[in-house]
């Protein structure tokens, strides 16, 4: 209780409040800019957080993460160009409403549903994360190994063209994590005599290259259309009748979002799409969907913001990222010298409750800002790409150079940008690579320790029920779709016979 109150008290610190306000405004702004997602922004601004305390850094990153999802809905509704991938489901009904002259109502419902979903998930985070951490407190290296394997296997569902491609990028990330001196034997691996690689590959330049530079290169191959802002009224607070109509959608979206967010690797985009489908399925006004259903805005918006708090649960309690963005936040914490996991709840409870408090504050703040200034934020989407993307590159250079003041890091960023661009062109999502890079060290360490515990006999995992269960779930998750496909092939053949 003392830690909880101390965490809440951090909101009285002007620096923390300033970081939350800056993070929220920045989150809405970048969320509204098509192409620049919350994950790109956090990767880009990660170096700025190194100079401040871990609480301030987490408050800033958490606020950007919370607000970017809402910001994406502004342009999804007004321009039909989701600023953030997680708002793509919102665009389906939101833009139709805007075309019908109800943009203000759609924006108002988006802000309210987002805030309710976000606050619901933070409350869930406050209760679930310590419980999960307590359960994980008894975990040993075998359980952590199995957990990391499970987290990586969940990358299969992240995005891109297919499960195998996502697993390939995740494995490449794990391989990258082995670069540098092996801490147990002192042997240099894959450093090829380059001094900068001896300490391993820094997260920051890789993150910036993969997310920001590769996106700029990708944008250069497409001729972006000039966005057109639909005329609108100011955002309107939904009426009691609107709430009665959308209450079920908000509830469904919040629960689905928090649950999906809590699964390792699955983030806000998946949550929003599932939230939209389920809202439609349980709606009493199914006929409105596709023609501008207000529930179709409320459901996915509640879901994508609920996924934010949900994805922080495994990130903080287990050290396993719940999404691509939390993988970047996790990398930022590691750079700060903080290693999330169950021990963090005993060692630095104030830090955690401060994070919860700042996320609650960010959710309330973007509700106020969203209702009051949505029209102004929407204008941000009109910044010409000819000015925006060169600026992103310049900020990427300074972001990669800043933390270590190393030109080597700028080179790594450029290489990562080129690799990320190739990934995008060929349907590989860059997010699993980050998951692999972040989890790779833990995976190797846990496997080595497990093998020592098991006297080099891998069958030892069979005697650890939790590890065995996690490995079985991983295996069934990976092989399930393959078996289903084989069954589908075999059945028609039998019927034909």
């Amino acid at each position: 209780m003392d830690a909880f109150l101390a965490g809440m008290a951090t909101l009285t610190d002007p620096l923390i409040l300033g970081m939350i306000l800056a993070g929220t405004v920045l989150g809405i702004v970048v969320g509204a800019l098509p192409g620049i997602s919350g994950s790109t922004t956090i990767a880009l601004l990660l170096p700025l957080t190194i100079g401040v305390s871990p609480i301030a850094a987490l408050a800033f990153m958490g606020s950007v993460y919370c607000a970017a999802n809402f910001g994406g809905s502004i342009t999804a509704i007004l321009v039909n160009a989701p600023g953030d991938p997680s708002s793509s489901a919102t665009a389906i009904e939101g833009y139709r409403l805007a075309e019908r002259g109800q943009a203000g109502l759609a924006l108002g419902m988006s802000a309210v549903a987002s805030a309710i979903g976000g606050i619901f998930s933070v409350v869930m985070l406050i209760f679930a994360a310590p419980l999960l951490a307590r359960a994980a407190y008894s975990f040993g290296p075998p359980e952590y190994f199995a957990l990391a394997v499970f987290g990586l296997s969940m990358c299969a569902a992240i995005g891109g063209d297919g499960r195998v491609k996502n697993l390939i990028t995740a494995a490449l990330g794990v391989l990258l994590a082995t670069v540098g001196i092996d801490l147990t034997s002192g042997v240099e691996r894959y450093s090829f005599g380059i001094m900068e690689l001896s300490d391993g590959i820094n997260f920051v330049p890789v993150l910036i290259g993969l997310f920001a530079v590769s996106e700029m290169l990708d944008q250069s191959t497409r001729r972006a259309e000039e966005p057109k802002l639909i005329s609108m009224d100011a955002a309107k607070l939904p009426t009691g009748a609107d709430f009665r109509k959308c209450g079920r959608a908000i509830g469904i979206g919040s629960v689905i979002g928090a649950f999906i967010g809590a699964l390792p690797a699955l983030g806000a985009t998946t949550a929003a799409l599932v939230g939209y489908n389920e809202t439609q399925r349980w709606s009493k006004h199914k006929h409105e969907f596709g023609h501008g259903a207000l529930e179709g805005v409320a459901g996915p918006e509640a879901a994508n913001n609920a996924a934010v708090g949900g994805s922080m649960v495994p990130t903080l309690a287990l050290g396993i990222p719940g999404s691509a963005t939390t993988a970047i936040i996790l990398a930022g914490l590691i750079v700060q010298g903080v290693r999330p996991g169950p021990h963090l709840f005993n060692e630095q409870p104030v830090l955690l409750y401060a994070v919860f408090a700042s996320m609650l504050a960010a959710n309330l703040l973007y509700l106020v800002l969203g209702l009051g200034m949505a029209k102004l934020f929407a204008r941000i989407s009109l910044i010409p790409p000819t000015l925006l993307w060169p600026a992103v590159f310049v900020l990427s250079v300074i972001g990669a150079y800043g933390p270590n003041q190393s030109m080597g890091d700028v080179v790594i960023m450029l290489v990562a940008g080129g690799v990320g661009f190739l990934f995008r062109r060929h349907g590989f999502s860059p997010a699993p690579l980050i998951m692999g890079l972040v989890l790779g060290g833990m995976l190797e360490e846990a496997l080595k320790q497990s093998m020592i515990i098991f006297d080099q006999n891998p069958l030892g995992f069979a005697h650890r029920p939790i590890a065995l269960l996690l490995l079985a779930v991983t295996l069934s998750g990976l092989l399930g779709p393959l078996l289903l496909r084989m069954l589908r092939v075999v059945r028609p053949q039998k019927e034909a016979v």
């Binding site: 250069s220 010409p384 000015l387 993307w389 310049v394 150079y401 800043g402 349907g427 080595k448």
Partner: protein, 151 residues
């Protein structure tokens, strides 16, 4: 023919996996006294084998997708400017290189409003100088010219 892009990707991934696997034989030997359990090379080898297996799976189940569209001239130009940024920075320093890059890339992407292009570039570089150099006391590379005339 439709599946060729994914098969090419699979071949590239397999090549990376094989090269990384082979490179593990170049790692230094661990003294027998220190060798305990999995060594420095075993884990990377395991990952390489997983990668190779996934590459085979991708080759066997390629998605039926069209090859990616050709990179237009603006795309190649952007890549050239991004790569050229490094040598330019080594000569003129980071801030002037940023100014040149902002103007050149904006022009390449079709921005012809000179005042807007120049104003936004100068404004951004000035902002970076203010935040990173003045506020965070970051020392940015001055380049050959900077070292010659200002140090």
């Amino acid at each position: 023919m439709r599946a060729q892009p994914d098969r090419l990707c699979a071949a590239a991934v397999a090549a990376v996996a094989i090269a990384a696997f082979a490179a593990t034989y170049g790692f230094d030997e661990v003294p027998p006294g220190l060798a305990q359990g999995l060594g420095a090379a075993e884990f990377p080898r395991l990952v390489c084998l997983v990668l190779l297996g996934l590459a085979v799976l991708l080759a066997l189940n390629p998605a039926s997708r069209k090859p990616p569209p050709r990179v237009p001239a603006a795309g190649w130009g952007t890549m050239g400017l991004a790569i050229g940024f490094l040598p330019l920075m080594m000569v003129v320093g980071m801030l002037p290189a940023m100014l040149v890059f902002l103007i050149a890339l904006g022009w390449l992407w079709g921005e012809r409003r000179r005042g807007l292009l120049l104003g936004s570039a100068v404004g951004l570089v000035a902002g970076i100088w203010l935040v990173f150099v003045r506020l965070f006391a970051l020392s940015l590379p001055g380049g050959w010219l900077g070292d010659r005339f200002f140090s």
